[in-house]
């Protein structure tokens, strides 16, 4: 047998890149939710966080363009991830009907989790794009008041709420599936594999619940600030002791 024959390496690369981009995005969102939730600590904490990401503590002045740059990078990674993941979507009615019937009749936990990935992933084509476009074009409109105004007065909260549910679920389930797909944390014995998977699933649900709660509370806080502050939409926050 000829051992040097040509092989098409693209399927291997696509599979790997899908997982890698998914992993990067999951890491990103796990940081993102925590950072934006600094509003739960105080306005000043969130303000400091904003300044940090604008590079204030590195350059001595704020560069919101850093946020634009980061958001563009995230959008690009999402586009790559979505493009590759599209391979796995049912692409015609026959496939859709067949997989839907399979999911319902098999009533199998991990198969159903995949369905959630497809639904939330599809939703984020639209939800995440809107959010990222705002971040790319208006990076200087982030802060305790500016963000709250966008959430409340700008009527972004329904979108953010849907996005929050989609992204946290998608990232949580995605990380769990990534672990299984590539064989991390496998039990040594086959008979323990199912227990291990059940354990991973519990951890996954705990992480999803934690992030959802933090995210919902943070969103509620932004809405609260936004509505209380609504009469002065557009006003920027200045921490005590810092001159305008």
């Amino acid at each position: 047998m000829d051992k040097r024959h040509h092989i098409d390496k693209t399927p291997a690369r696509l599979d790997f890149i899908q997982s890698l981009t998914g992993f990067i995005l999951a890491l990103f969102i796990s940081g993102h939710i925590l950072f934006e939730s600094s509003i739960l600590i105080s306005n000043d904490a969130m303000y400091a966080m904003t300044r940090f990401f604008e590079g204030y503590y590195f350059f001595g002045e704020s560069h919101p363009v850093i946020i634009s740059f980061l958001a563009t990078a995230v959008l690009l990674i999402i586009i790559i991830h979505a493009l590759i993941a599209l391979r796995k979507f049912p692409s015609n009615y026959k496939q859709y009907k067949s997989i839907k019937n399979h999911i319902q009749s098999l009533n199998h936990h991990d198969t159903s989790l995949w369905a959630i990935q497809v639904i939330t992933g599809f939703a984020m084509f639209f939800l995440a794009s809107v959010h990222l476009y705002t971040m790319i074009t208006l990076p200087n409109h982030i802060g305790p008041y500016a963000s709250s105004d966008r959430v409340a007065g700008g009527m972004m909260w329904p979108l953010y709420l849907m996005l929050l549910f989609s992204v946290i679920t998608h990232a949580g389930v995605g990380l769990y599936r990534l672990i299984l797909k590539w064989g991390f944390f496998e039990a040594k014995e086959q008979k323990c594999m199912k227990q291990r998977r059940a354990l991973l699933r519990i951890i996954m649900y705990l992480i999803i619940t934690f992030y959802l709660l933090v995210g919902i509370f943070a969103l509620a806080k932004y809405m609260n600030i936004g509505y209380e502050h609504n009469y002065k939409t557009g006003e920027r926050y200045h921490p005590a002791g810092v001159s305008k």
């Binding site: 047998m1 051992k3 040097r4 024959h5 092989i7 098409d8 390496k9 399927p11 291997a12 690369r13 696509l14 599979d15 790997f16 391979r87 796995k88 049912p90 496939q95 067949s98 997989i99 019937n101 399979h102 999911i103 009749s105 098999l106 009533n107 199998h108 991990d110 198969t111 995949w114 599936r177 299984l180 797909k181 590539w182 064989g183 496998e186 086959q190 008979k191 594999m193 199912k194 998977r197």
Partner: protein, 241 residues
């Protein structure tokens, strides 16, 4: 002792070879006996209620893989399914994907043969075998690992439990991927990494697998399908990087 249960077994009846036959559900009542398996229940039905009911059995001990069917929507072997573990109402249907002979009887043989031919599931070794010399030794651990994967009975449960298969008829399924994992382990098989990649390194192979793990959860032989597919995926990514 608790009262005897009367099982209501609903079976999807259809014979594609009978002109004008239409798929329909038929329900049979069977009095449960201690230690009853679906194999016994189905034979009971055929013997006492409807002799035209078609279903397959050979070994009735979970070894031959003939009696795989959808039991309440989940692929399993009828002979190793105790009715005591099921409710009073049981639904049976033939495994999808495979050619239907009639009722619960399916023809897995031609599908499996096609798969084995496609993957060349035999040892590839061009050296001439000298039957007068001793075989090369193999570590017991390795032999056991290979044997473990060789326990596959080709019942088709993993194929029926696979979501990918629903959308891609050409997918190899866990049964095919498991076989390649088995031959790749075997030092007697001289196929190169590239040869294996050519067999499973695409979306009909390991990269089509979406890790829904239906296969792992329905395999009646408890084969390590999840970990072997993950292993194969890592191997193929290494080759394809």
């Amino acid at each position: 002792m608790s009262k005897e249960r009367v099982l209501k077994i609903s079976i999807l009846r259809y014979d594609p070879h009978v002109k004008g036959d239409k798929p329909r559900m038929e329900t049979f009542e069977v009095t449960e006996a201690p230690g009853m398996t679906l194999y016994i229940a189905l034979n009971d039905i055929r013997k006492h209620i409807d002799s035209s009911l078609k279903f397959d059995f050979v070994c009735r001990a979970g070894i031959c893989g003939s009696c795989s069917m959808l039991i309440n929507g989940k692929p399993a072997l009828a002979c190793s399914t105790l009715t005591a573990k099921l409710g009073e109402e049981i639904t049976l249907a033939p495994l999808p994907t495979f050619e239907l002979i009639g009722d619960l009887s399916i023809y897995t043989g031609n599908w499996m043969r096609g798969l084995n031919e496609r993957l060349s599931t035999w040892i590839h070794n061009e050296e001439k075998i000298d039957t007068d010399t001793l075989e090369e030794k193999m570590e017991p651990e390795l032999a056991e690992e290979i044997y473990e994967l060789d326990r596959c009975i080709e019942c088709g449960c993993c194929v029926a439990g696979c979501g990918t298969m629903q959308m891609n008829d050409n997918f190899l399924g866990a049964v095919g991927l498991n076989k390649i994992a088995r031959y790749q382990l075997d030092p007697r098989d001289k196929r190169s990494d590239e040869d294996y990649y050519e067999l499973v390194g695409d979306e009909d192979g390991v990269f089509g697998c979406m890790t829904l793990l239906g296969c792992e959860d329905v395999c009646p032989k408890n084969l390590p399908l999840q970990s072997k597919i993950a292993y194969l995926r890592r191997q193929m990514v290494k080759i394809g990087k």
